[in-house]
Symmetry: none
DNA sequence: TATGAATGAGTTTTCATTCAT
DNA sequence: TATGAATGAAAACTCATTCAT
């Protein structure tokens, strides 16, 4: 990648970061392109040199940010689950860590408004080679325990949706249940799903 | 309720229905108050007699519509599951019916954009006495099978979130899996959750 | 006046008073007819049974209120000046009292926005027989000191404009001079005007 | 000042002038921003590039216009009074000219609705160095005749308020006295004020 | 007389996007 | 590449007034 291209990408990222901060505090529909360029320290017109239009920015931001966060979450969870003895406790620790990670991403959730799935939609290819590798190293351990790769992908997807949907409400609204109140149910549920899918 | 009040409520509902039709075809943010009043056959100012502003309408619409659809879904599912012999098949048929109902509500899902939970947030009180009764008659059958009422509420909530989250992506994007592709996994998963939560 | 008419007048006054309170706190242009009828406890349509339109109300209010206040001011000033020995001190006390009265009418001034003259325009007939009588009893004392009635009217008018204009700025903005700062100059000035006009 | 800034200021002035013309013919509250931009030959949005909102324009217009007119009035009066022999006739000619100038500014008066004081409030600093200089050259002649600078400022202010308040009613309503009818009284009154304040 | 739902013209304001520099 | 003034369509919302009851 040429120096020029690196510079361009960097600026693009700067715009995305500025937009993200504003989206967090004001929500997408109340953030004007004007606010974004001011925050990024560039001119109005410059914005359109990097993004086709506002929705182009949003699309890229959501994709970039949700991918980024998914990777972070998997990374954190994998680290915590690394020393688990048996499969059962591996999964339990992993799922628990995933929920913790969601709690830590509260702001992102608000912006994405349950659109975490913007990323999940490309599941399990993600769009970031590192993330894919991470995913495989995590799920690999389950493969030889009665799962096919395909079955595993679906189970993992369902588990992820389950966790993110329930966590979203619990974290942002604390209704009908707060996160700590629903966490044990959620962990049990996620494990049940994994087990149930293996049998299938 | 006086005749006047009934009339007012009816008109409010008419506005909500008009808005809903437009939201389905054009999405919320591309629908102007102007479009809504034209569709409802009322004057611009009249709108503001019934709703504080546009966001007030959206809030009420989402709540009303998601509640309404939840009831419909429960109704349909209950009917289909009525003759089930054992608990296992009762649950299976019920869950399957729930997914079918989601498919039938594709349009609603698009509008609510995963905000079905606007209704779920008041779970299991819903806000409509009929719905509550329905909910209790449905879940009652499980009560004597090792669930406490509280545990049942949480399990049911988690199952509902699971089904609606996964179905939403499957139905609206068909990515990463289409609804028929993911349905067996989803049913298994939901049943596992129920079973897993009972044990707990 | 019939009982019916009295009732009507009373309601009219109630509307005017309600409007006046709102005008004081929100200014005329930010007060809607709607606010007024709510405050007066009547229906929207009823308003139009008593006033042709909004500007009709304003006109009547300004006239009624400024006349009322002018009378109050003259009454207060006359009382204070009653025991004055010589003409000089009579005028001085009177003018001073007038300024005090203006200070006490701060709210009215804000509403009328220097339109106190709405009343002054009918000077010295006012529109209220009692006020006219009051005016004559006050100025009478000067008549035999070199003034013609006409000259006196003009002088009084000019003095009144002088006091109300200067007081208005002093009271509402305290710029460029506060009321106590400018008061001595104002009294001197008013007296000079009276004296100067007598000579003429 | 850069060329860019000059250009911007020029456009701002153009908008103000267009608004002023409309305010004169239709009054402030019946002039829409839309009318102003049409008259100024700019786009709707451009207006908001130069003024925060409509009231911002009004504020700036009143200040700018009243300052401008004050300068013109002083200029005219000074020229006419230049050759006066004694102080008495200097003041008399000056005051008379001031009244003439007010008559010539009838339109402005209507727009400003007695808000000439928007400018007077910054008296005697005005906000325009040229005006200040003018003011000092005019009043200078009185300084050595028993006035302190401070006393002079107050006297001048009071005289100005007197003249503008009385003239306003006389010119715009011709009630209770027309301008020519009240002029001699007004001149005498103003002179009396000046004399009376000198003595003090 | 009294009501208050309905009206819709009219206003202000926003904001994504373009384009000359 | 970068700028930022200019645009104007489009949006939300207000409010004086009417009129059927």
């Amino acid at each position: 990648m040429s120096a020029d291209q690196t510079k361009k990408l960097e600026k693009k990222r700067r715009i995305i970061e500025s937009a993200f901060e504003l989206f967090k505090s004001k929500n997408i529909y109340n953030t004007a392109v004007d606010d974004i360029v001011k925050a990024a320290g560039i001119a109005r017109g410059t914005f359109y040199l990097y993004f086709k239009d506002k929705s182009d920015l949003i699309e890229q931001l959501v994709f970039y940010k949700s991918g980024e966060s998914m990777k972070e979450m998997m990374l954190l969870a994998a680290k915590r689950a690394a020393d688990a003895q048996d499969l059962e406790s591996y999964a339990r620790i992993f799922i628990d860590a995933l929920i913790d990670a969601m709690v830590g991403q509260k702001e992102l959730l608000t912006v994405l408004n349950k659109n975490m799935s913007a990323c999940l939609r490309s599941f399990p290819s993600f769009g970031d080679p590192e993330a894919v590798e991470l995913y495989h190293s995590i799920t690999g351990r389950l493969l030889d325990h009665g799962y096919t790769q395909e079955g595993l992908d679906r189970a993992a997807y369902v588990v992820f949706e389950l966790i993110s949907a329930v966590s979203y409400d619990a974290i942002t609204y604390e209704k009908p249940f707060g996160i700590e109140e629903i966490r044990p149910v959620l962990v049990t549920a996620a494990l049940s799903v994994l087990r149930g899918c293996a049998a299938a």
